[in-house]
Structures are given as C-alpha cells and as structure tokens.
C-alpha cells in the first residue's frame, strides 16, 4: 500500500473506498488526464495520486477536473478515481471551500434557471437574429428541488462558513 499510514488512519474520504488499495501507481491515468498535463505533475506523482493524499482543503487543481472519465476508462485495475474527485468536490462545496465560480453558477441556476444569467446584450443579439425571446424559467420548481435535495441548505451553510472565516481573519488582523 503506497499511502502513508497516518492518512489511512483518519481520512474519511478514503475509508469508504477500500478499492483504493488497488492503485499501484501505474500512472496510466496520468497519461490521459488533462489536469496532469496542464499542471506540474509527473508520472511518479499524478493528479489522481495527489488526490489520495489530500483532504477537502483541496488545491485548485481539483476544480480543473472536467469529469471526462478518461482516468476511469483507462485504469487497468477498475478503480474509479472520478468517484474520489466527486467526493472531494461535494465535501468542499458544503464546507465553503469551492471556487467562487462554482457557488456563483449554482446560485445563478437556482435564481434564473440558467448557469449563465442573460443580459440586454443577449436580448439584442437574439432580437437581431429573429430568435424568440427567452422564456421566464420556473425557478420556484428549482427552489423546491433544492430544498428537498439539501442543496439550498448546503449553499446557505457554505456561505455562512465563508463569512465566519472572513470575520475571523479580519479580527485576527
């Protein structure tokens, strides 16, 4: 087993994923992974392996994963590294540690029905092309969904965690 014992003892991300034992650091995932290629990783220390060794206070690189599935499709040991990426992202979101762009996208989705808010530029371009006006999306239905899946609560908790951390930082300064 290639991971340090201290991580095995208390890493809640890895404990439910016993199959991580299968990783033999063959680095095939690193050959096909866009994060591996765009960032400072090497065949001995790939992006996937890096994730095994960190908690949810993840480096920026976690958010570069585009969920392309190449690591899963190429892994010779049928381990699913993507599930670990998703677990890290899910936990980071709830703790207020995701990039602002992710919170922005979720808040835009719930308030307008679209990840990208429209503008008068959009209206002008659509009108010039003779396209129909964009309909008003039923965001009340999305609000109901977010309430019952827990997303609304998670976003509120994440924003609170961010605000508290900022206030703590300001009072320590």
């Amino acid at each position: 087993m290639l991971l340090r014992e201290s991580f095995q003892a208390h890493d809640s991300q890895l404990e439910p994923r016993a199959e991580v034992e299968y990783c033999l650091q063959c680095a095939v995932c690193g050959l096909v992974c866009v994060v591996n290629q765009a960032e400072a990783y090497d065949p001995r220390h790939t992006f996937v392996y890096d994730l095994f060794n960190q908690g949810i206070e993840a480096k920026e690189t976690l958010w570069g994963c585009p969920t392309c599935h190449k690591c899963e499709e190429r892994c010779p040991y049928n381990f699913r590294p993507l599930e670990l990426v998703k677990a890290h992202k899910e936990a980071a979101l709830a703790a207020g540690l995701a990039p602002e762009a992710v919170y922005g996208e979720l808040e835009s989705l719930l308030s307008t029905g679209s990840a990208f808010p429209g503008s008068n530029v959009t209206e002008r371009r659509r009108s010039k092309l003779g396209l129909p006006d964009l309909p008003v999306r039923p965001v009340n239905e999305l609000a109901i969904i977010a309430e019952h899946t827990g997303l609304a609560g998670k976003l509120a908790a994440a924003r609170l965690a961010q605000r508290l951390k900022k206030e703590e930082g300001e009072s320590n300064a």
Binding site: T67, L93, V102, E105, L109, L131, T149, L151
Partner: protein, 289 residues
C-alpha cells in the same frame, strides 16, 4: 450556454436541423440541464433531479430530446441511465419531482445531435443532401470529452480512437485530418474555475497539434469546446505566442454550408477567431460559400 452566450448557433440549428428531418418544438419550462461539472460533481442528487425534471417536460408533450451540447447530453443520458438502473433512486427523485407537479417516466429518447445524425439520419442520407461538397477543406474533428466518455453512455464512438465525427465530416466532401491529441480535453474546465494558465496550456497543446497536422479548421459539437477554441484561442495564442490562427466551426455550420447555405447565413462573422485571412476563409471563398 447557446441561447444566452452563443445565440448564433441556435439560429444555425433552427435553420439546419429541419433539413435533416427534425421537427423542432420549443419547451418553455426547460432550465439548465444542469452542468455535469459544476453541479454534477458537487451535488449529484440535485443534478439528476433537475435533469429528470427537464426530461419529464419533454415526456409530458410526447417528445424526444435532441441536445446541442456535450454536457447536456452527458447530464440527461446519465439521468436516464441512473434512474433506469436504480428503481430506488428513481422513486426518490420522483418523490421530490411530485412536489413540482412533474413525474419522470423514462420514455423519452435523449440524444446529442452528432449521434442522432450518425445513427438515425445516417451518413448516406446526409451525403444525398449535400449541394456544395466541401472539397479540399481540411477539418480536424474534436468530439469532446463528454460525448466520447464513458463509452457506454452514448454508444457513439470509440473513446480512444474516435472515427465517427470524421465520417460525418467526410460525408460533406471535406477531408478529416487525423492528429495525435484528438481525444484530449479542450481545457475549458480550467477556464470556468479561474485557472487561466492551465486552460491556455491545455488548449495550446491541441491547437499546435492541429496546426501541425495541416487542418484549416477545428470542428466541434459542443458550445463549451466552441467557446474554448474560439475566445479561448485568443488568450492562449497571446500567452504562448502562437503564430497561427485556426478557426473553430460547429458541425451544424459545416453541414449548413454543404447543404448550400452561405457563410453569412451560417453566422461565420460571429466567430472571434476570424475566418477571413485564414486558409479556411480562402477555401470557403473558392467553394463559393
């Protein structure tokens, strides 16, 4: 993305798809699919529930769904797959959807337009419709991550050695150019989370490879890939001193040109990487487009 950021591609789709037999119906209640990366990876339960809501709207009108985006196709087909595989998950999702007045039934077909063209319309049927063969045009295809993988989800192509998009290009009379980094990600995942250098680096690797292979343009089927190869190319070129410009084109625009529509009708003037002055522009002029 398309209706808001790239409405010219919606315009092209509305013009071109009916020529291939699609009857387009607007469904006002659709929302974002939602995004498989920003939402799918951070909150899978909400992701699949909103996906199921969108599909249920199509089902209420007895419609199948055609998407213009790899991400939307990935989200919606994943929803169909997961809810089909797990009755328990489907029950939980429908429990929540019931509060919005909808029910997911699992009867609508969902396809990205590229698999629809390849599998339902067929290469031969497309060939028969071509009025202006794009002879001599060299096209590098970029199918894109969320349509290639996982292979079982779309049943579209081999995710390690894709050929179907090339066949769709060849059916228009153009030449599909092979290149080493064909299955590499465009890198827009970095751009949307603020990692500009990584985004430019991933993109410049592909652009350099495509240019070395002699392509006049890069064909895509996804608005995110389109945005990366278009707007993204401008920043990547500056950062990595690329001394060439390779315009991007959505396959529907290419198809439209082959059907006889003009460059103006196919909205090529909306591209940020200008077509004029490139080998692509020269070739189109020679073809009378």
């Amino acid at each position: 993305m398309i209706p808001i950021k790239l409405p010219h591609l919606e315009y092209v789709a509305r013009l071109v798809l009916p020529r291939l037999g699609a009857q387009l119906v607007d469904v006002d209640g659709f929302t974002c699919c939602p995004d498989p990366v920003g939402v799918g990876a951070t909150d899978p339960r909400t992701w699949v529930t909103i996906g199921a809501r969108n599909i249920s709207l199509a089902e209420e009108q007895g419609l199948d769904m055609l998407t213009l985006c790899n991400g939307c196709a990935y989200t919606l087909r994943h929803t169909v797959h997961d809810l089909g595989k797990s009755p328990e998950l489907r029950h939980q999702v429908n429990d929540i959807l019931a509060r919005t007045g909808h029910t997911y039934q699992g009867v609508s077909q969902v396809k990205h337009f590229l698999p629809w063209l390849a599998q339902d319309v067929g290469i031969e049927a497309i060939q028969r419709l071509v009025q202006r063969p794009l002879t001599g045009l060299r096209v590098a295809t970029h199918t894109g991550c969320h349509l290639l993988s996982p292979q079982y989800l779309h049943g579209f192509d081999d995710s390690e050695d894709p050929v179907v998009f090339d066949q769709l290009v060849a059916s228009l009379g153009a030449t599909a150019v092979d290149y080493r980094t064909k299955t590499a990600c465009c890198g827009i995942g970095f751009a949307v989370t603020g990692q500009a250098v990584s985004s430019d680096k991933a993109l410049s690797v592909k652009l350099t490879d495509v240019h070395a292979a002699g392509a006049d343009c890069i064909a895509v089927g996804c608005p995110f890939c389109y945005q990366q190869f278009d707007l993204g190319q401008l920043t990547a070129a500056r950062r990595f001193n690329l001394d060439f410009k390779t315009p991007v084109i959505n396959y529907l625009q290419l198809l439209g040109l082959a059907l006889g529509f003009s460059s103006v009708e196919m909205q090529l003037s909306e591209h940020r990487v200008r077509v004029e002055g490139t080998s692509f522009g020269v070739r189109l002029e020679a073809l009378g487009a």
